[in-house]
């Protein structure tokens, strides 16, 4: 239903939002090699910038015009029509996808701007911006998709771009291996998701998401096998893409890509595609309570795993990677207890502060001559003041420093709903709380190791405007974005959830008293402060205490275990890689080769046989001719 007025024209521009980055990609691929660097940057950043502006305009129009069902649908064309399946390239805009579009385009634009300076020395400048533009286009397709097939197209598109960008510096073999690892692991999830899509299409005869979500409660009973199966398969896809248990091992290795890539893809947007998927198909998860509980359990397990691993890493980017895994665990936890809008709120704040942290870390890395080991950095707060302050703001937001940071409000809301929701449980809340403590410890560990203490590496590069501006903007956002959703105790601002409640169901809470809420908030705030205190104690005041702890027998075992990502790489190597290699080795000379070998063998044999006739002797050739004549005459005679 199209709203009237000039807002209607505004909303019609929806298709331009993914179209501009896609156009940028095509332009850079076809003609980028002949554009100067400035031209490439203008195209690469400009298209995403225009998309961001359009997104803002569309958001304003959407807010003002309030279309029916709080959703706007724009059909562009029928994609294909085969045997009853005719998905169309159509875009669906509601509050959920609008939030995602805004985050992707605005944060994406800032990161593209940052990359102009970060990647300025790289030979693959044009290729980089082409891939980044393609990624933004694919991500926008994913979130704006009206039907499952188009969503899957976007899903695969972001997976492809992730592979291309992780392995951007492909001449280094480890980078290529990391890219393949990421792709293969997410592939496992993608395949499960595809089976889930088949199941949904088979059951409902349509791929339109909204239609499925409307019909599912009517046709499937809650807890029925089909619902459980479909939800579980979709969960598998989400787990793969969002790097949760058990498919989380690819994300730390994905840090082999350039830092802007890590910021955009592996912090702010692609890894949250799983969260988006679950939020979008929330009806199916509500119909499958067991799977929804599994989501929460996966969330809490991952956040603890990620947090403890982040505590022991020395590479600054790997800390942030494990931190991302952990924070998305929080989002999964929220989804698992039915707090849909809280999960999205945390997604928005996380996008802001995590990309800020990555960009600031990138600035550190660039300034220190590509040094990523925190033990070799140090004392940088005097040399890089802007980076220090923005990093500090990001770390505070990550640690959810009470009252002043956006991270506090979003994490607090999640913890509140984990406790109070009908589907929540106390042990889940405890896990979240422990995670909050650990988060505070490792985020300030990062700050202290990198910016305080003795100077480690010399600073060789000073940041230009293209790096400073995004850092400042993201720092500001990391603080103020939280103020759109304040809990009861602080003024009960419900801007965010009110918007999202038009698209997502409200969380069902049990009866919890106001006092409990205050106590919980205080406890959560205390956890954060205790964590910061611990970090100050260990890493600022007595830096060698951490070493001593790590050298105790229990400590060293735990340290190595957590450092290796809880042994998942080793586990997968034993369970999957080694048997596969064994099978491949054993089956090296399987009979399939025989078919092709037979051809060459036959040719060789025939050649050797015919060689016998080539004796070089004239009389034998003459005998051959005579024989041929005899045979020919014989055929004539026989006729």
């Amino acid at each position: 239903m199209r709203p009237t007025g000039c807002e209607a024209n505004m909303l019609d521009l929806l298709w331009l939002i993914p179209a501009f980055p896609l156009g940028g990609f095509l332009l850079l691929v076809l003609a980028g090699w002949c554009l100067p660097r400035k031209g490439v940057a203008a195209v690469g950043v400009g298209t995403v910038g225009i998309a961001a502006i359009l997104a803002l305009m569309v958001a304003v129009a959407f807010a003002l015009s309030a279309p029916t069902n709080h959703a706007y649908s724009q059909q562009l064309r029928i994609w294909f029509s085969v045997a009853g399946l005719s998905p169309s390239v159509s875009l669906y805009l509601d509050a959920l996808s609008l939030i995602m579009v805004l985050v992707v385009t605005v944060v994406g634009f800032l990161i593209h701007l940052y990359s102009v300076e970060y990647m300025a020395d790289d030979d693959g400048y044009c290729r980089f911006f082409a891939y980044m533009n393609l990624f933004v286009a694919a991500m926008l397709t994913l979130v704006l998709a009206d039907n499952l097939v188009l969503l899957y197209l976007g899903w695969e598109g972001v997976g492809l771009c992730s592979y291309l960008l992780i392995g951007f510096w492909y001449r280094e073999p480890t980078n290529a291996k990391a890219a393949i690892k990421a792709f293969v692991m997410t592939r496992v999830g993608d395949t499960a998701m595809l089976v889930g899509l088949f199941l949904l299409f088979h059951s409902f005869g349509t791929v339109q998401i909204q239609e499925i979500l409307q019909r599912a409660p009517q046709e499937w009973a809650a807890g029925s096998t089909l619902a459980l199966l479909a939800a579980a398969l979709l969960l598998a896809g989400a787990v793969g893409k969002s790097a949760q248990l058990p498919l989380q091992a690819w994300l730390p290795d994905a840090m082999a890509g350039p830092t802007p890539v890590s910021a955009l893809i592996h912090a702010a947007t692609m890894v949250t595609a799983g969260v988006y998927l679950i939020a979008r198909t929330n009806v199916l998860f509500t119909l499958a309570p067991a799977v929804q509980s599994a989501v929460a359990v996966i969330g809490v397990g991952t956040l603890l795993l990620g947090g403890l691993s982040a505590l022991t890493q020395f590479d600054i980017k790997r800390v942030l990677a494990y931190s991302t895994i952990s924070q998305i665990g929080y989002m999964f936890l929220a989804l698992g207890v039915g707090a849909w809008s809280a999960a999205m709120f945390h997604f928005v704040t996380h996008a802001c502060f995590k990309s800020l942290l990555f960009l600031a870390a990138g600035s550190v890395i660039l300034s220190a001559g590509h040094e990523q080991n925190m033990l070799r950095l140090g004392g940088l707060r005097r040399e890089l003041p802007l980076t220090f302050w923005t990093f500090l703001i990001g770390a505070c937001s990550l640690a959810s420093l009470p009252l002043v940071t956006a991270g506090f409000y979003s994490k607090d809301e999640i913890l509140w709903y984990v406790w109070s929701s009908e589907r929540g449980a106390a042990w889940l809340w405890l896990g979240g709380l422990a995670g909050a403590l650990i988060t505070a410890v490792y985020s300030f560990r990062m700050v202290f190791l990198t910016f305080f203490g003795k100077a480690g590496t010399l600073v060789t590069h000073r940041n230009g405007t293209a790096i400073r501006v995004p850092l400042i903007i993201l720092a500001v956002l990391s603080v103020i974005v939280g103020f759109v959703q304040l809990p009861d105790t602080f003024g009960d601002v419900r801007l965010f959830s009110r918007v999202l409640d038009t698209a997502l169901p409200k969380v069902v809470t049990g009866a919890v008293s106001h006092a409990t809420e205050v106590i919980l908030q205080v406890v959560a705030a205390a956890a954060c402060l205790v964590g910061i205190g611990v970090a100050i104690l260990i890493y600022l005041k007595r830096p060698d205490y951490a070493e001593t702890l790590a050298e105790t027998p229990a400590g060293s075992v735990l340290h190595r275990f957590w450092r290796a990502g809880w042994g998942f790489d080793w586990l997968y190597h034993q369970c999957f890689v080694r048997p596969f290699l064994w099978i491949a080795r054993v089956n090296r000379n399987d009979f399939i080769d025989l078919f092709t070998d037979a051809v060459s063998l036959t040719a060789g044999l025939a050649n050797d046989a015919l060689r016998i006739t080539q004796t070089g002797r004239v009389r034998q050739y003459a005998a051959g001719i005579a024989l041929g004549a005899i045979v020919a005459l014989w055929i004539v005679v026989l006729r």
Partner: protein, 180 residues
């Protein structure tokens, strides 16, 4: 009463026998010159057969060119090579009875096939007629003129090739430089 045709037929059969016998001798002799002489006998009998078949011009040509020029050429070359007794013993070595088996078999099969084809077609009666050289000449310079020209070209080519190929290695072309 012996008709003229019957007499001629018997001449044909006798000459045929002579031709076959002498051809067998050609291929089995060890001495090259002997083989050549038997070849000449074979050619002469074939010339007689030509004559009996009403082709006197062909008969004359067979004698003059085939037996008279080509065979003599062979004789010249053999004498030029001057192989002597060594060649004869070598031929004896090469012509063991065992080596005859394969080729004889092949030739026999071929001959049998050809004979079988020919014998099976029945007997075609022929009205004898002599074809004079004049008729042959008219045919040659009438419809077969092109063939005559081509034949002369072929002879020219053979002439040049034989001269060129027969030279000793190192012989200079024309006397532009000093012969050392």
């Amino acid at each position: 009463m012996l008709r003229r045709e019957d007499a001629m037929n018997s001449v044909f059969y006798i000459s045929a026998a002579v031709a076959i016998l002498s051809t067998v001798m050609v291929i089995t002799r060890l001495n090259a010159v002997h083989a050549l002489l038997y070849m000449i006998v074979s050619l002469l009998s074939v010339a007689l057969i030509f004559f009996v078949l009403g082709a006197p011009f062909a008969a004359a040509l067979e004698v003059i060119i085939y037996a008279g020029a080509i065979m003599v050429l062979f004789v010249f070359v053999i004498m030029m090579l001057n192989l002597g007794e060594r060649a004869r013993t070598q031929e004896a070595l090469w012509l063991k009875p065992g080596t005859w088996m394969g080729p004889s078999l092949l030739a026999l099969v071929l001959a049998l096939e050809l004979v079988y084809i020919l014998a099976g077609t029945g007997v075609t009666p022929v009205t004898p007629a002599e074809i004079t050289p004049k008729q042959v000449g008219i045919a040659l310079f009438g419809p077969y003129l092109l063939g005559v020209e081509l034949a002369s070209l072929l002879l020219l080519a053979g002439l040049v090739a034989a001269y060129h190929l027969g030279r000793r290695a190192g012989q200079s072309d024309s006397g532009t430089g000093d012969k050392s």
